[in-house]
Point group: C2
Chain length 221, copies 2
Amino acid sequence: MRLGQLQSMDVSLHVIRRLPRYLRELDDLMSEGVRHISSIELGRRMGFTPSQIRQDFSYCGAFGVQGYGYSIPPLREGVAKMLGMDRDYSAVLIGAGKLGRVLLEHFSEVAKGYHLRAVFDSDCALIGSKIGGHAVRSVSGLGAFVEKNKIDIAILAVPKEQAQPVADALTESGIRAIWNFTNTEIETGEKEIPVEDVHFSDSFLTLSYFLAQADREKSPK
Amino acid sequence: MRLGQLQSMDVSLHVIRRLPRYLRELDDLMSEGVRHISSIELGRRMGFTPSQIRQDFSYCGAFGVQGYGYSIPPLREGVAKMLGMDRDYSAVLIGAGKLGRVLLEHFSEVAKGYHLRAVFDSDCALIGSKIGGHAVRSVSGLGAFVEKNKIDIAILAVPKEQAQPVADALTESGIRAIWNFTNTEIETGEKEIPVEDVHFSDSFLTLSYFLAQADREKSPK
DNA sequence: TAGATTGTTAATCGATTAACAATC
DNA sequence: TAGATTGTTAATCGATTAACAATC
């Protein structure tokens, strides 16, 4: 189920999507040696209004001090906690093609604190070989593995055609979230399983729209 | 400049981001042999309200017929045209690492009708070698190439540290849009150059939020 | 204390949905 | 013609911004 469709959102999806940006900015500030900041100054850096920043942070618990601003270390931890970075979630990668391998490599940086438990593929030539320290397993064992090991997150990097069958296997075996790189929409049925789509083609075309629009404005016909 | 911050949007970013989804759905319908559809039926398939679909399509020109619905082929072309898919835009890839190579490979599928003109990297070991039919060039020649060949789009897949310097070279030499995979924000100065960010880490953490939220709801403490 | 800045409530702005006249 | 469905205007809903009392 696409994130936007999910029910019971205490915090709006708009706010949630800004949290990782705050995290990056706060980490940058930390590495610059800055230890506190006001919503005005942070807003100036990030291109947000101070109001929005105060609103957003109020969802992460109260870390501000009147007349002084925010103390960065606890605020950073508050945001990280909201994002579940302290919860030791486990993941599996399905699809050990080129994209899968890139994700595998990035995963340790991108997702510090999360645990990649296994890699699956349907290609017999790959099964058994080692990729990034993980023996590639056959997708035929995917459901059993997810169920037995109570895997939280599936990273889906298989070809379009396999997206839905693999998603079905995952939902049946109790997966809790799907990170979807297949450039296609997947159905997860009744259960409210969050699916985060990373559709390269959609992203590219969005950018292309702005070029086309600029050209239309230049020479309207 | 992030897309959300751009001025002069005739059509809101929300609508623009739905256009590629419509395109995919319409292509799916075409390949199923369907040639016309009502906003009600399309809404049912996509999880949108019929109102929204009619609103969105009205921006692409009028393709509907009262009492009948939409004729898919011209609607599909109308959406594609809005997205600039008929405009022969040119692109360069900067960063021939693993991610860059995946993007290169996907580019021909993802971006049919767009032309990849060159690949750049700063690694001497890579320069001169061929990747996906393109000789890898030194980034030192990036600005001159973009300027001379009037390149429209830069695909930025370099390490974080190089993101801003490369972006500076690009903006100075007249690039028109940047597809940014560096997991960091880039500044483009005065000119309103659209930047589309694909931040894997942000996307992953957004998904992680929903897991954490589900757990918080289960055992509030 | 005075100045600064938060957290939160109220006002505004924008996006989505509903309604309906137009019409195929 | 009658039924269906569009395109568009009005109503609603939700997100962002402004304002301000609380207070460090």
